[in-house]
Symmetry: C2
Subunit: 341 residues, 2 copies
DNA sequence: CTGAAAGCGCTTACAG
DNA sequence: CTGAAAGCGCTTACAG
């Protein structure tokens, strides 16, 4: 392997000082047009690339952003929540467009991640992605915030959270989905998914769900909310539990697509027809929901927009620009699982 | 934001030299047990983290690996090939286990990526991931290799490729899938997917497919191989084209799951029943294939194993250990789209 | 517009 | 086992 060229090599060849090389390479207006061209030509010829470690060390910033992806502790080793994967894609793209590199790391909620990334000066800022808002998590957020770490997160958006949060309008999503069911004549609802403060996104979806039911003059039956985390298996189990209760149900909202898909399997295994006997809506619009049987009507989170907002806000934060939390709109995607399309 | 502590701060508090601090923190055997404990305690208290830029600059390695994900140029902006996403997950995990960070970057084949990552000393090595093996790509590989860059790639494994490649045993996969169709009594085959040298993975799958047909004493009909890239839409179009040919077909192999899924849609739209009228197999075992209607029988690429091998090999390469190309086995996953399961 | 010099925060010979 | 010193390759005041 050939030795890499340094700015001194270029300086020598160009007959200028190393400082001038450094300036020329970064298109400093201070440097003579002609000198700059000459220097850049030589740099290209020598296949020179600035040493990021050196430049970062000196200038005290890194040009990279860290994405910390928290996984639900119960998630099996091989399967990452498909929704995160799609966020990951859009975040990576948005970061690239802004000229930042992206360091990706999967974290277990239990890890002592504690600002490791920015502290280790590996990143200028951090993006936090992950369901839930466990007590533990909130505490760490606070610590991050107090340390002055630049970070944004995607998930639930609440008043009292430290730092800047973005998320889908979960309440609106739950409301829209349920309104859709109501418009199709459904009357007896169930909601599958945790509706507690440790799962604030699901909770907001549930609130929207309840509001739509109440507005329609129908009853919210608390026994029809059954806990589940965002996996197919958990949705399946919740679906079974619902059936065991033996109460009248003609429409089910899953707190996520994975839950809805699992529930559909439970219903179909029990001989129920979706949507004829029971309508099902999901939430997320993961790619799989196109292909389920029947295709799943769901609420889309605009991951592309979210990725862009996240990156843009984080970059602003890094540059000292103030940034406010915001919600991206939820959009109903009508397919077949509710009986209309 | 508080100023970060440096090794000098620790040295001062511990009453030792900065060199000793550096050694103690890295668990050097040279340093006294007691001194080490004291230094580490102080470091912890000060919430000290080594500055990676400084340590990397000095020691000339980075502790990070770069994953360059090449996208099919035709792929729409919002949808990343689900198979890559799953590789990404497993690679990230494997890298973390080895103590490396992962820098992720999506590349267009047209970009001048040209070793930017290692050259910019952002990474100790590079993982290349992406379908296809375009002429352009091969040339860049060669350049990387000549520069002494450490890299591994996942995809097709061929003799004449520069660098070390890993991949699924695509030939075996095509063979197994087709054997399965034959065992179920199918006799009239088609293959959907590019079978050219610019898509060597698909090509190998096609070869395996043909071999199984020939071994069964059946005919390979060249008009039954129809080009498609790995998207649902392309598979749909290829499926339509196949039907237009109006030749007898009772079994179709898609070169990838996305192609197979698109083809199923084409068949079903034309009133054909899958698997009764026409059996369909895919390749990849992406999560979606569980949920299609009918669920897709397919060939699984072991992404978890592949991610581990990729990382392990790259780390070995970085440490000067020789590494050989290898194939991970293909595994038939029987679901319903072939009429048995 | 350019150059000489300092220094970012570490690691690692070198000397003891 | 420990310390003083050099130096990784840049960027950036400072001086001209």
């Amino acid at each position: 392997m050939k030795q890499r060229a340094t700015s001194f090599d270029i300086a020598y060849q160009a007959g200028v000082s190393q400082s001038t090389v450094s300036r020329a390479l970064r298109n400093s207006p201070l440097v003579n047009e002609e000198t700059r061209k000459r220097v850049q030509a030589i740099a290209k010829e020598l296949n020179y690339k600035v040493d990021k470690n050196a430049s970062n060390l000196r200038s005290q910033h890194t040009g990279t952003l860290a994405l910390l992806l928290f996984e639900d502790p119960t998630t099996d080793d091989s399967l990452i929540n498909p929704f995160f994967l799609s966020m990951l894609g859009s975040i990576t793209r948005a970061a690239a467009r802004k000229g930042y590199d992206l360091l990706v790391s999967f974290q277990q909620l239990s890890d002592d991640w504690h600002a490791d990334y920015e502290d280790a000066s590996k990143a200028d800022g951090i993006i936090l992605l992950g369901y839930g808002d466990y007590v533990d998590y909130a505490e760490k957020l606070k610590k991050l915030y107090e340390q002055g770490t630049h970070f944004v997160r995607y998930g639930s958006v609440a008043e009292d959270q430290p730092g800047v949060s973005f998320g889908c309008d979960n309440f609106q999503g739950g409301y829209l989905a349920t309104q859709h069911l109501i418009a199709l004549g459904r009357k007896h609802f169930a909601f599958l998914g945790d509706a507690t403060e440790s799962a604030p996104e699901f909770w907001a979806r549930y609130q929207g769900h309840c509001k739509a039911i109440q507005e329609a003059g129908l009853d919210v039956r608390s026994e029809c909310q059954i806990s589940a985390i965002s996996t197919e298996e958990s949705g399946f189990v919740a679906g079974k539990k619902l059936l065991e209760k033996d109460i009248q149900i003609d429409a089910v909202m899953g707190a996520s697509d994975m839950i809805a898909i699992g529930a559909m399997r439970a219903f179909q295994e029990n001989g129920l027809k979706v949507p004829d006997d029971i309508a099902v809506v999901g939430f997320d619009d993961i790619p799989i929901s196109h292909f389920t049987n029947p295709p799943l009507t769901t609420i889309q989170q605009n991951t592309k927009l979210a990725g862009e907002i996240l990156i843009e806000s984080l970059v602003n934060l890094i540059h000292g620009v103030e940034v406010k939390a915001s919600l991206t709109p939820a959009k109903l995607i009508v397919r077949k699982s509710c009986g209309c399309g």
